[in-house]
């Protein structure tokens, strides 16, 4: 191993996942994007240094003052992968159970198919993206076989909530816990009046919402022994 491991004579394996977030917060700092390393130069920095196989990618972002990069060992050894963006490497992350997917650029329709393909053992998915979906091509339904927990950040665009919860796009046969904005769920289901079998809500045992809310007339109560629609008088 190089430098950092000069004294580690017994070291047989070093693996890592290092995400760097750089923010040029000083307003007087003149940003010159050409000063940032390219993905190629980041990858080359690991070559010949006995770090094993390494992946690197730069996160595309709409924020001028922000630069993000992620370098990690392959095979990826950790059970959680945080800060994944749409430009991640096309590898198999078989150890990962928990994935945090955050972005501020538009996702295309194929992203969730790629996530499903690359993270075959995913149990918890947390997503945040306030940009709308890109394009609307018809795609085959993506089934997340093992996903149990889905958390959707409040600032997430309704396009992605629709994509995740509507069976037209994604099937979540084992989903157990759902965190979502009530208002967005209300909007998506047209006040809980749409056919509930169209949505990935039938198996949900635990629904967590961010805000105080007045229950819709047709709010669906999801209970352990099967879902049932209850008509609840408005407060």
């Amino acid at each position: 191993m190089e430098m950092i491991f000069n004294n580690h004579r017994r070291l047989k394996r070093f693996c890592f996942s290092i995400y760097t977030y750089i923010c040029q917060s000083d307003e007087h700092f003149i940003i010159d994007p050409s000063n940032y390393p390219s993905n190629d130069s980041i990858e080359k920095s690991f070559v010949g240094k006995e770090f094993g196989e390494v992946r690197s990618y730069i996160h595309p972002t709409s924020l001028k003052r922000v630069f993000q990069s992620h370098v990690y060992s392959i095979p990826f050894p950790f059970i959680s992968f945080t800060r994944l963006t749409c430009s991640f490497s096309n590898d198999l992350f078989t150890n990962v159970r928990i994935l945090v997917l955050t972005d501020d650029i538009r996702w295309n329709c194929e992203l969730f198919a790629k996530v499903n393909r690359c993270f075959p053992r995913l149990e918890t998915l947390m997503i945040c993206n306030n940009s709308a979906k890109e394009g609307d091509e018809s795609m085959s339904v993506v089934t997340f076989d093992r996903l149990i927990i889905l958390r959707i950040s409040t600032s997430t665009h309704i396009d992605h909530i629709e994509q995740l919860l509507s069976k037209q796009y994604i099937c979540l046969p084992r989903i157990h816990e759902l965190t979502v904005s009530y208002e967005q769920l209300n909007q998506l289901t047209n006040g809980f009046t749409k056919d509930r079998t169209q949505f990935n809500c039938l198996q949900v045992e635990k629904l967590i919402v961010y805000e105080d809310f007045v229950r819709s007339e047709y709010f669906l109560l999801e209970v352990k022994n099967g879902i049932r629609s209850q008509r609840i008088n408005k407060k």
Partner: protein, 123 residues
């Protein structure tokens, strides 16, 4: 003592004594990086496997000089010396999210090298 799975008031005791001479595996969540250093200070002489989770490594929470903190970076001054200190380990897994301001330097293969060559007197 093996198989701790409960929250324990460990750290207060750690400042004064050896916690366990037999413990081989320790999975622990800590609040500060200082506590992390104490684990490898001879308090667990039989430790074979250790997983540490720290939600946020905050420079101001460490015991090194505040004036030094202002002009140095957490990665170089805390993480690198910490890894260097563990000279007997056979395997290291390092999962890090690093935040930096007003710089073009990110953590890559070169940075792992350059950072590690800085002589730090933390330990």
């Amino acid at each position: 003592m093996t198989g701790w799975e409960v929250e324990i008031s460990l750290i207060d005791q750690m400042y004064s004594s050896t916690i366990s001479v037999t413990l081989q595996k320790l999975d622990i969540q800590l609040k500060t990086f200082d506590e992390c250093l104490l684990i490898f200070d001879g308090r667990f002489p039989s430790l074979v496997h250790c997983t540490i989770f720290i939600l946020k490594i905050d420079l101001t929470s460490t015991s090194i000089d505040n004036q030094v903190n202002l002009r140095t970076r957490g990665y170089d001054d805390l993480i690198v010396p910490f890894v260097e200190r563990m000279s007997n380990v056979e395997e290291i897994r390092l999962l890090l999210n690093v935040e930096r301001r007003n710089t073009y330097l990110l953590v890559d293969g070169n940075d792992l090298q350059q950072s590690s060559s800085i002589e730090t007197i933390l330990f």
